[in-house]
């Protein structure tokens, strides 16, 4: 809502400047989004009359005009060609300042001295002013513009406008009179508003015109004022200027009166050319296949959910949204039917959404129009029609259903202080209601019965009035206290604690946390997540963000690709987040939200003068996973992938499914050759694990074991085995063969190449033997080692590499 300070001051005498008033309103709960001065910076531009136009003798594209500015005649050279003799035009003379700070000086154009310039609306930064032929040239003002007057005064541009950002609970402030009331409440001044804004209703003779409401649940009221002897002409300048300040373009006296009254009273109005209506005016839902051409010239298909106004021939307006072109007021209109009605906000809202059509009227209906003022507003319309000599109000008719009754709310003073934590006195509270201009009486001790005026539909319960009290006195008066309720101890749940621990472990292992959108492109999600399993949004922001992810990988891959394209090629990234798995599609109940951990690694450690680069390869990532598994108290098992799903996604030789206590936890692998390049990546390793499963098996308890006092004996053993035998299998077997005293087996070297037969590999193992009771002897350890060697020689065709 744009509020002109000049207009506001017609109701209420305020000494504050616009900025100060904005501060008062904002602190009072009416947020002022912006404050604007209408004159964008020009000074001393006067209205002149074109007395003479001649072509420039030396330049075809220039004209020489003699213009009377009231005090003198000046010669001006212009490149524009749209002005005619007698036109009223804005003149900038030497010394005039234009928006942006440019100062006008006399200038010579091909031998002719121009004593200033003629201005266009663009140069003056004003809109919606002047005759139609002003477009693209000099601004041509109405022919009655007084010569010699300052343009600023003529257009009323010496005005400030407050832009109110209204919350949905204050639609009353979409009316100037109620803004004045609000300002009055906050400043403690009583505004002067018309009798119409106090709910007075006029009386006129009953019209012959019939009005019916077929859907009383959607329309509480339909009032029509009939006007004869209409004379269509421009509205007076004062009205045009006020409309422009409010952001409404002046059209003609009739349309301007409907807009002016809407801005003043908040009641949307519509003017029909009555001679184009036939029979009964009816409010009803549209029928299947009905249509209407609206004022903007668009043909609109209607459906049975759309409330329309009809005459005997069909729809003539979409209720509360826009009128029809056929019954539009034109230059030749002689009789008018002014509609002042009430339509249900939710119905208007649905219709305006569906049609993609929003107007000042629909905006007000959606937010809530005061049904009690429908006829009062017509009183104001009639008053202005007479004042402007635009027409003669002759008769009136109305259909009205049950209007909401005025309500009274009891306010219990101790409760006010109990809820707010304040110590307001009864007098202070009474003063608030006085400022609000609400009537009240003491019902019983400490209880005030407050009458709510019809324009404050937002006030329904005691708490609403408590807020009124708090905001009018000022939220600054609410003290700062500490809750004296029950004492509690805050603690993370084990699952929350585990998530934090896991995140810390991954960060500690060098991985960077990323955060990606929960919605992704359907086709990509199907590749990495569940095929056909993603939940689609009805109204996605973009098609690429249309499906709720079933895997974290699409997001991670995109982030990795973006980084790679920016030459951040060495990556270690992870994300912890939910994926969304429907139980059935289309969705009938909420889907499962499963927390996942996924990561991507690429490149290697940064090159360094002191240490060799460590590649972020399969084993690097496996190492990280091993570390977090250890910290989580779980052991992971890696099995070669057998799942078809990974075909051509993961390198078959460099990927694994990961199991935890025989349950599928997730996978790890290098992206399939060439697919990486297609994705804009460089041989990355990816993984995705199920967080919930990890948590289910985790044990964060630490039970410390003491260490043996007796020294350990360490032995190394190198064997050559066929290369397809997994190292882990040999390691496990060695552990079994080594007996109780073998405490640890590690693989410390894997070698293929010179001196090793083709198709074989050499594994070097180190074994640590230890007893808790005695110092071991070399001989017994040698025996264990021989057993191991014999065992694996037999089992794996291993050969001892001496």
């Amino acid at each position: 809502m744009r509020v002109s300070m000049k207009w506001l001051r017609e109701y209420i005498g305020i000494n504050l400047g616009a900025e100060e008033l904005a501060e008062v309103l904002t602190k009072g709960g009416i947020e002022v989004e912006g404050v604007e001065y209408l004159n964008k910076g020009f000074k001393d531009v006067y209205i002149g009359e074109v007395k003479e136009i001649t072509s420039h003798p030396q330049a075809d594209n220039l004209q020489i005009c003699t213009v009377d500015t009231g005090s003198q005649e000046v010669t001006l050279v212009s490149g524009a060609t749209n002005m005619l003799l007698g036109d009223r035009v804005p003149v900038a003379v030497p010394g005039t300042i234009l928006p942006g700070g440019k100062v006008i000086e006399p200038a010579e154009f091909r031998g002719v001295l121009s004593q200033g310039m003629l201005c266009s609306d663009k140069e003056l930064e004003i809109e919606g002013v002047g005759l139609d032929r002003s477009r693209g040239g000099i601004l041509i003002l109405n022919s009655d513009a007084p010569v010699g007057t300052r343009l600023e005064d003529y257009l009323g541009l010496d005005d400030w406008v407050l832009e109110l950002e209204l919350y949905p609970n204050r639609p009353d402030c979409l009316a100037m009179v109620n803004v004045a009331r609000e300002v009055g409440t906050l400043l403690g001044i009583r505004p002067k508003v018309s009798k119409w804004a106090q709910g007075e209703t006029p009386t006129w003779p009953q019209a012959q015109q019939k009005v019916e409401i077929d859907n009383p649940d959607l329309s509480l009221r339909y009032a029509a004022l009939l006007v004869d002897n209409v004379k269509i002409m421009p509205s007076p300048l004062w009205m045009q200027n006020k409309l422009r300040a409010a952001g409404v373009r002046p059209i003609n006296n009739i349309v301007d009166i409907t807009n002016y009254c809407m801005l003043e009273m908040g009641q949307p109005l519509h003017a029909f050319d009555r001679d184009k209506l036939t029979g009964t005016v009816r409010v009803r839902l549209a029928k299947e296949n009905e249509q209407i051409v609206t004022l903007d010239g668009m043909e609109r298909k209607l459906d049975p959910d759309t409330l329309v106004i009809t005459d005997d021939n069909g729809p003539v307006a979409i209720a509360g949204v826009m009128g029809g072109l056929d019954s539009e007021v034109t230059e030749t209109t002689q009789r008018i039917l002014f509609e002042s009605a009430h339509f249900l906000g939710s119905s208007v809202r649905r219709t305006s959404r569906r049609l993609g059509l929003r107007s000042e009227a629909s905006n007000r209906f959606e937010k809530g129009v005061n049904p009690h003022w429908a006829v009062s507003t017509l009183g104001r319309v009639a008053e202005l029609l007479v004042e402007l000599r635009a027409g003669e109000p002759v008769s009136f008719t109305e259909k009205v259903n049950n209007l909401p009754e005025a309500i009274t709310i009891d306010v219990y003073l101790p409760k006010v202080n109990y809820i707010l934590g304040t110590d307001y006195t009864e007098q202070e509270v009474r003063k608030v209601f006085d400022n609000l201009d609400f009537s009240y009486k003491e019902k019983s001790l400490g209880v005030l019965a407050v009458e709510i005026p019809s324009y404050r539909q937002d006030l329904k319960i005691e708490e609403d009035l408590i807020e009124e009290i708090a905001r009018v006195i000022g939220y600054d008066r609410i003290p700062t206290t500490l809750a004296h309720g029950s004492q509690t101890q805050g603690r993370r749940t084990p699952e929350q604690a585990f998530r934090i621990k896991l995140r810390r472990s991954l960060i500690g292992a060098g991985m960077n946390e990323v955060l990606s959108y929960s919605f992704v492109k359907k086709e990509i999600d199907e590749i990495w997540g569940s095929k056909g399993g993603g939940i689609a949004l009805l109204n996605p922001l973009r098609e690429e963000l249309g499906t709720m992810r079933t895997s974290l990988l699409p997001g991670l891959l995109e982030i990795a690709a973006r980084n790679t394209s920016r030459r951040n090629t060495d990556l270690l990234l992870f994300e912890i987040g939910n994926v969304y798995l429907p139980k059935e599609l289309p969705l009938r109940e909420l889907p499962e939200e499963i927390s996942k951990i996924a990561g991507i690694a690429q490149g290697g450690s940064k090159r360094h003068w002191h240490i060799p680069q460590v590649k972020h390869d399969f084993f690097y990532v496996k190492g990280i996973l091993t570390e977090i598994a250890k910290e989580s108290g779980v052991e992971l098992e890696y099995r070669r992938t057998s799942n078809k799903k990974y075909d051509e996604l993961l390198h078959p030789g460099r990927s694994a499914e990961i199991f935890l206590n025989d349950e599928y936890l997730g996978f790890i692998g290098e992206i399939y050759p060439q697919l990486d390049a297609e994705l804009g990546l460089q041989r990355p390793i990816i993984f995705e694990l199920d967080f919930a499963l990890m948590f289910k098996h985790s044990s964060l308890e630490i039970i410390a074991k003491s260490y043996p006092r007796f020294p350990a004996i360490q032995r190394d053993l190198a064997v050559v085995v066929p290369e397809e035998i997994p190292a882990e299998g040999i390691k496990k077997r060695v552990y079994e063969l080594g007996g109780d005293l073998l405490k640890e087996v590690e693989i410390f070297d894997v070698y293929q190449g010179e001196s090793i037969p083709a198709g074989h590999k050499s594994l070097a193992l180190t074994m640590r033997y230890q007893s808790g009771e005695r110092t071991l002897k070399d001989e017994e350890v040698n025996t264990f080692n021989s057993n191991i060697l014999a065992g694996i020689q037999q089992e794996f065709k291993a050969e001892w590499r001496k």
């Binding site: 709960g29 809202r349 408590i466 609410i478 809750a483 309720g485 929350q496 960077n512 939940i535």
Partner: protein, 340 residues
């Protein structure tokens, strides 16, 4: 023989001067005092002396021997010191070269801020509650006093999945879910961090962002308690000298409602670009839980009251880390992430 002794001593001492390493020193010692050393051989010749001369001669040789030993020891210390100094010199490194990098990752700024907010409220006795990101219309709107077609629904552009299932536009549904779970026990004292979604995308809006909801329901909870709690939170988050101010606002599920501003952490309230020269920065919305919402959560609004608040995590992160464009938070460029 008597003449040879001083000669040996002198020669030895002068050779000792020239010795430049422990090895040479050892060699010299062997040459003089070893089994076949010059001084040792003199001792061996003692037998050819007259018995009365022997003690005297023995004494002289011993004295020389002691003198030489002493000189050797001195020299040895010097040489060892020299050797050590040489070694120290050789082992000198360019301390200006960079240290060996220790691979350490970084937490995303948003998860960092959420964790920080959690820790502040955990310290004040709040529990952390969670709720689904895909929600029903009932929990996201209706149970929060926002019936269908309520104009306030326009404040939030909603992503829909079906007519009744949507992406939650706020963390507030967790309020109702938690009350339903806990009622009629008291107090309800939770914060609920999480992702929320709105159909909006520009420099100041992201279609997915994060909120931390807060809810305290108990007997005798006052709006002044809300103010006290939020003042404490703001000081923990932004520094001890911060002040807060409440402005009337509107949320369908609170009454009275308040927008909360914190005094600008950059200019201290004097006015700067960040606070748009007002000295105040809006950080969260809050209010007293609407009686209808308490009812729907299973509490009697005549017996208990409560307050609720919703913190915008992105906003806090941007203020805290001086991030000017919200899109950086979801771009995930490594150069950005590595600063946290």
């Amino acid at each position: 023989m008597r003449e040879e002794i001083p000669k040996i001593k002198e020669e030895t001492l002068s050779e000792l001067q020239k010795v430049s390493s422990i090895e040479e020193l050892q060699e010299l010692k062997v040459r003089v005092m070893g089994k076949k050393g010059s001084l040792t051989s003199l001792l061996k010749q003692m037998g050819s002396l007259k018995p009365e001369e022997r003690p005297q001669m023995g004494q002289i040789i011993n004295d020389v021997r002691n003198d030489l030993e002493e000189a050797w020891e001195e020299k040895k210390i010097i040489l060892e010191k020299e050797a050590l100094n040489r070694r120290l010199d050789q082992e000198r490194i360019d301390i200006s070269l960079p240290g060996t990098p220790f691979p350490r990752g970084h937490q995303h700024p948003l998860s960092k801020v959420i964790e920080e907010i959690e820790d502040i409220f955990l310290g004040m006795g709040f529990m952390i509650a969670e709720g689904p990101e895909i929600e029903t219309d009932y929990y996201n709107f209706e149970a929060l006093n926002l019936p269908k077609d309520h104009p306030a629904r326009d404040m939030q552009d909603t992503f829909f999945i079906t007519e009744d299932i949507l992406l939650r536009t706020q963390t507030s549904p967790v309020q109702v879910r938690t009350m339903e779970k806990i009622a009629p026990q008291l107090p309800v004292k939770i914060i609920a961090p999480g992702k929320v979604f709105r159909n909006d995308d520009d420099a100041t809006h992201s279609p997915m962002f994060h909120q931390v909801e807060g809810l305290l329901v108990d007997k005798g909870v006052r709006m002044s308690d809300l103010k006290g709690l939020l003042l404490y939170f703001s000081r923990q988050m932004f520094g001890e000298s911060r002040e807060i101010r409440l402005r009337p606002s509107f949320f369908p599920f609170t009454e009275p409602s308040a927008e909360v501003d914190v005094s600008c952490m950059l200019c201290g309230g004097n006015g700067c670009r960040i606070c748009k020269y007002t000295g105040w920065i809006e950080i969260l919305g809050s209010g007293m839980v609407h009686p209808r919402v308490l009812e729907m959560g299973g509490y009697n609004p005549k017996e208990v009251t409560g307050f609720a608040f919703g913190i915008g995590v992105e906003r806090i992160a941007m203020l805290k880390y001086g991030i000017e464009d919200m899109r950086l938070l979801f771009d995930n460029d490594l150069r950005f992430l590595e600063q946290f």
